[in-house]
Symmetry: C3
Subunit: 134 residues, 3 copies
């Protein structure tokens, strides 16, 4: 089984994927195993962080933008300077993440949520999910 | 099987988990497979790095603090500025890591160790381990 | 099955591993599963990024060098300042990455390639690959 989660992003948006990924686990019927979430994009990333304060998500994008500012003198000329910065951000955070399934549920801490970080957008994006049982 | 490794951290500490994770592999009896290590916290991360020079671990935390300094003007107000910085550091390094098991052993380079990076603390923390055989 | 991909790097080089990892999938005969790619080094990392513009790879290494400059006052004294910086870069990007195998193929976006990032070099390096079927 391969699940594809499709969604629309906003510019530099932070999109929650926790519920959709939990649904993939439920649908699979797998009681124990490893789940791989993978995005097929190069100007975005996957992360896990706290869902308590949505303003914290803005801080994350703010800090990533501060670390890798969009500038006009990137060597990469294939597309825009913003995309060039987005590629670097993608390498920094990463497009792949592994999770544990136990007792038929996705193992997450009490404050953890799974998020898609958009470094471009608005765009149509997707996240793939594959589960391997123990 | 789900293994839970529990430990106490110090402020901004670097806690070695290599031996405990190797024990999980041994205990599982799995000869070949993939291991997922996952922490359920949002102000900490997992990493693999050299164990030769403990001062190198201080450099890692120093550099992460330099990249994401604790500041009073984060938008995140749910808890302290230090926690707000910790959340960003968590996204930067990540709470999940996959390893290869081969010939009944955890595959690691001759200088690689597995470490828990505390971005808060001192706290009681835990790392979960799930193994899926080939 | 454990596959080992061996290669030679240049100083701060970006080495494509996509074709070799695709070959591992083909050779395994696995139709659906998860692949773990793992490097056994502490001054290098694995990433996925766009293959369209090779100059983008230079930007990635440039930006990582800008974020973690080589400096003489690292606490780590076991080897050179360049290696000390390389260890921090290794933690920032990471030595492990999980991929999805579906329909007998490695799942990658139309512009995604898998790359080894050298933070030292030139050196002989290797990447291990383990596949677990669904």
């Amino acid at each position: 089984m391969l699940e594809r989660i499709q969604f629309q992003t906003t510019k530099d948006g932070v999109i929650p994927l926790t519920d959709q990924i939990k649904e993939c686990v439920e649908k699979s019927g797998v009681k124990s195993g490893i789940l791989c979430a993978f995005i097929t994009h190069t100007t975005a990333a996957l992360t896990v962080n706290s869902f308590w304060d949505p303003l914290g998500h803005e801080d994350i994008q703010d800090e990533i933008r501060r670390l890798i500012p969009t500038r006009v003198d990137f060597k990469h000329q294939h597309d825009t300077p913003e995309d060039a910065a987005g590629h670097v951000k993608c390498t920094l955070i990463g497009p792949s993440m592994s999770f544990i399934i136990d007792d038929g549920k996705l193992l997450l801490g009490h404050s953890q949520g799974i998020y898609f970080l958009e470094f471009d957008g608005p765009r149509n994006r997707e996240c793939y999910v594959k589960i391997v049982p123990e």
